[in-house]
Symmetry: C2
């Protein structure tokens, strides 16, 4: 089972594809999609769309988990993040990938145990849960990994039940 | 020259395709794309994407003009509108269609002469400019027509120069 975690953004969109098999969770792809700030908005969104399409081709996920966009920060950024998230979700649905949204607090709560965890704690927990040699970088990629892990923690389905009885799905 | 005007939205996305030839402007398509509120968000965005794709296939525009999303109304609606606009812009850019954004005040100013025009005045001007027998309905479609007309009014290019010298482009 592949779960693709996405931390949506237009300048920097974090992604992490996690392969879950029984109790094992392994990152098979982790990184950031960037689009040039000097490019017109519509072309940046189109570029993001084609990069997400390539990601889905490479490791076809059964689920895409994405952070729900909120308005903590400035309104201009939030709108670009919303547009980026719309493009990612449409592409996933178009490809038959099921999409789940999680709030930032749900993500922090799931990986670090409480919704007020800071970035360093989340990165630390992602490193531990995925048994990475180094802390995942950059921060957007670590956040995407946390979102995918959040989905796996919440998912009452195959993965966890299989883990409980020790059988790979 | 076809200009596709879009009033972005997730529940209701207005569209109007205007054929501009010299000084003549004619609506060749006008309506609203709707997506069911009970459908999951990602599937609604994917549905909107495929409807926009069909529109572009039907009357291939050289330009897509879209209203810039602002935050006058409630934050939940604005985010859905932003996601919808992202999907529309990405699809247009993917198809090689140039995208222009206009603020609500620019649109009102261009079709009704002042940025504080109300909906009824905009609808009235759209009806006059496009020589429609009846006021365009629903409001989202009329807004989309106003956005396309705004682009034609701002465009310093072929269309207007041709109009000035009385030659169809």
């Amino acid at each position: 089972v592949f779960v693709l975690g996405i931390d949506p953004g237009l300048s920097r969109c974090g992604y992490c594809c996690i392969e879950a098999s029984g109790s094992r969770q392994r990152a098979v792809a982790l990184g950031v999609i960037t689009t040039p700030t000097e490019m017109p908005l519509a072309r940046r969104l189109s570029l993001l769309q084609s990069e997400v399409r390539d990601l889905i081709d490479e490791h076809p996920p059964s689920v895409l988990a994405i952070e729900r966009v909120l308005f903590q920060n400035n309104v201009r950024t939030a709108m670009a993040v919303g547009q980026a998230s719309g493009v990612v979700m449409a592409e996933a649905a178009h490809r038959g990938v099921e999409v789940f949204e999680y709030s930032p607090n749900e993500v922090k709560g799931a990986v670090a145990g409480h919704g007020s965890a800071d970035k360093a704690q989340v990165t630390q927990m992602v490193q531990t849960l995925l048994r990475l040699e180094r802390p995942p970088r950059p921060a957007d990629a670590a956040d995407a990994a946390a979102i995918a892990l959040c989905h796996l923690a919440h998912s009452p389905a195959l993965t966890r039940r299989s883990a409980a009885i020790g059988v790979a799905p």
